[in-house]
């Protein structure tokens, strides 16, 4: 029954140093479908490096952690995989990932100081660097400039504070024509946490400190949005993508979501849409934004770490292409020439500077679950914001062992 022992044995036999021109096969897992980032990049890399074969396999986003854990347990793990930001700590804390620090130090291509602080934090765990971001995303406020004009508001002056957001959303709400002022997502999944954390962080809290006045204020504002019919009650079950769908259809005048919406929005939205930074609690308050997208990591028991890192380096080296070719924001300081949707890009690029990592925390899913529960029980009126947050804090403390 000791699969691990067998694994260790086979790893020793296989771990002979690869010769320069020897044929190498790398197994790569991704959440992409054919034609998307990893497939395209692997093709390009194989064309340039005929001695390397990359087998790409699609794993669905929500299955990645479980499939990866199972494959590690049974000895079928890939060499390289994509994992979502908050899960790097989960794998790194169990010693499943290769520490890339020595490789990065020797690298001509990867410079740690170029990587933005948020993405860098997402791959850092207890001093080691366990992956390279493949790109990034973050959230901002989309708004319908036409509806602003109809309501007598100035589309050049989007809401910048929470109070303004509330006033503006209220003014834009028009139940007669089935228009909500604001669309966002408070769904009981990681996406709900993703949307809520920036609100918490702007008021000085973070995932390990959520029982704060600022958090209660944010949750009460969210509740007000729903209770007053400014946002749909279905906000509680809609993903960001589905929420923004209502914005595109003209059923919401503003929406909080990320750059992944842009291709669909520019196709479907029959109005002038614009993007602004997330509103802050009050003028001059600290900014924060969510950090999305994921990282390319190398599994600790790969037989070909050098070849695997060479491929990661190649991916990282093409960071300036990710916006125009694949729709992610660059995770490091690179010059994007002639960006698509230049105005939106400018806003998201600035927002990236405030993007903060979720964690790092090796039990992230449990922390996130507590936050989701707090959001949902407040919004459904089962608990006050203060009660819900206190309960979530207790659970989080329990998980973090405080």
């Amino acid at each position: 029954m000791t699969i691990k022992a067998m694994l260790a044995g086979s790893a020793v036999i296989l771990a002979t140093p690869a010769l320069a021109q020897e044929q190498v096969t790398l197994d790569l897992w991704t959440i992409d479908d054919p034609g998307e980032y990893h497939y395209v990049m692997a093709e390009e890399y194989m064309a340039a490096n005929p001695n390397v074969t990359i087998n790409v396999r699609t794993v669905q986003f929500e299955d990645m952690v479980n499939d990866l854990a199972r494959s590690i347990a049974t000895g079928d793990a890939p060499d390289i995989t994509y994992i979502d930001n908050p899960e790097v700590a989960l794998f790194a804390s169990r010693g499943m990932l290769l520490d890339l620090t020595p490789y990065i130090e020797a690298s001509e291509v990867v410079k740690v100081e170029d990587i933005y602080p948020g993405p860098l934090a997402s791959v850092t765990y207890e001093g080691g660097i366990y992956g390279l971001p493949r790109g990034a995303n973050t959230i901002a406020l989309y708004y319908n400039a036409d509806k602003f004009r109809e309501a007598g508001l100035n589309p050049d002056d989007p809401p910048a504070t929470w109070d303004e957001l509330y006033e503006t959303a209220k003014a834009l709400t028009d139940p007669e024509s089935n228009v909500y002022g604001l669309a966002f997502s408070a769904v009981g999944t990681e996406e709900g946490t993703f949307q809520f954390l920036p609100w918490l962080q702007m008021t000085g809290g973070d995932y390990n400190n959520i029982n704060t006045e600022g958090a209660a204020r944010a949750l009460n504002l969210w509740k007000q949005f729903i209770d007053e019919g400014i946002a749909s009650p279905d906000t509680l079950i809609r993903s960001q993508w589905d929420s923004t769908g209502t914005f595109n259809a003209g059923n919401a005048a503003m929406a909080i979501s990320g750059p992944w919406e842009i291709p669909r929005m520019s196709e479907e939205a029959q109005f002038e849409w614009r993007v602004a930074l997330l509103p802050v609690p009050e003028d001059g308050a600290e900014r924060a934004s969510a950090l999305g997208e994921g990282d390319n990591v190398i599994l600790a028991n790969t037989d070909t770490p050098d070849e695997a890192f060479a491929f990661l380096e190649f991916l990282y080296g093409d960071m300036d292409r990710v916006w125009n070719d694949f729709g992610y924001l660059p995770a490091s300081a690179v010059e994007v020439t002639d960006p698509k949707y230049p105005e939106a890009y400018a806003v998201f690029e600035e927002s990236m500077k405030y993007a903060r990592n979720r964690g790092p925390e090796s039990d992230w899913p449990q922390v996130s679950g507590a936050i989701q529960t707090a959001i949902q029980s407040t919004l459904t009126g089962q608990a006050t914001a203060e009660e819900a947050l206190a309960e979530a804090q207790a659970e989080i403390d329990d998980v973090l062992g405080n």
């Binding site: 000791t2 169990r94 499943m96 009650p233 079950i237 209502t246 679950g369 949902q376 029980s377 459904t380």
Partner: protein, 300 residues
């Protein structure tokens, strides 16, 4: 019972072989996962120790954690409501439809066949379609109810803790009706016409004929449909995933979905397994009741 078996005195081996084949297959392919779950429910299981049984034993700690959990009562109640209402509604509607289509009118069999559409559609698709239909803002169900004047405003079926569970039940009943109807139809058509004719001559009305002839003769079918219905309902997972994810605030969470959440999104695999073992106990009960009910069914 002994007399009926004595005529097959030479063939008991044959029966045992037939049952043994199936049982053997199931022991290999189904019993292993169940035992595996059982073992994990007494262990501290990490996402990365799935491949070996060599894990720390924690006794009943997982069970204590789960049953002592703040939401356990809510989820257990939800599960009971979900199963009871779904199974009852499926049976009543399915039986009513089976009786209705038993009458002779043009196209009766053909139209009845169309009800199997619900059985054909993959769970994923059913979930997606119902999420459109039940949507609060643009759902066609709300439109229908408002147009007919039944409700004044929109009902947010999926996002209100009061209705979310019932929204999933509606979709689940829709899925389960064809199964009930078709199986009960098979049973109904096996009841010989002359039994009814005799009763009719004796002056028994429709209701009495139903109560004294149909129901007793359908005992085996009803037993099968009920127990399978309960098991199917306890297995229903896709609809929760597609419609409410157990939310809002666990308002529509049930044991099977919670178990999955604990194991695969919170990675508390020991606790998730403990919940699944509790479900197994529930099904043991159902199975006992079913097997006992079959003891009286030798009517044919």
């Amino acid at each position: 019972m002994t007399s009926s078996r004595s005529s097959f005195r030479d063939g008991r081996g044959f029966d045992r072989l037939l049952v043994g084949l199936t049982l053997g297959f199931l022991l290999v392919f189904s019993a292993f996962p169940l035992v595996y779950n059982l073992i994990m429910s007494f262990q501290e299981v990490d996402l990365f120790t799935l491949g070996s049984f060599d894990r720390p034993w924690v006794g009943l700690e997982n069970y204590a954690d789960v049953t002592g959990h703040r939401v356990f009562g809510l989820i257990a109640t939800n599960t009971a409501i979900f199963v009871a209402v779904s199974v009852a509604a499926q049976l009543v509607i399915g039986f009513a439809l089976a009786l209705f289509f038993q009458q002779s009118f043009p196209g009766a069999t053909w139209l009845r066949g169309l009800f199997l559409a619900g059985w054909i559609m993959p769970g994923l698709v059913v979930g997606a379609v119902w999420s459109f239909i039940l949507s609060g803002d643009f759902g066609v169900l709300n439109w229908g109810l408002m147009t007919l004047g039944i409700t004044d405003g929109r009902v947010f079926w999926l996002s209100s803790p009061d209705t979310a569970l019932y929204a999933v039940i509606i979709a689940n009943v829709w899925l389960g009706v064809p199964f009930n109807m078709i199986l009960l139809s098979v049973g109904l058509s096996a009841i010989p016409e002359d039994v009814y004719e005799a009763a009719e001559l004796d002056g028994a009305g429709r209701v009495r004929r139903f109560l004294t002839i149909t129901l007793p003769l359908m005992r085996a079918q009803i037993g099968a449909v009920l127990s399978l219905g309960i098991i199917f309902t306890l297995q229903q997972f896709d609809l929760f995933a597609a419609l409410t994810q157990g939310g809002p605030a666990n308002g529509s969470n049930v044991l099977q979905y919670w178990s999955w959440e604990l194991s695969f999104t919170d990675y508390r695999i020991g606790q998730g397994s403990a919940v699944s073992v509790l479900m197994i106990l529930l099904v043991v009960l159902v199975a006992v009741v079913y097997v006992r009910s079959t003891r009286h069914e030798h009517v044919a």
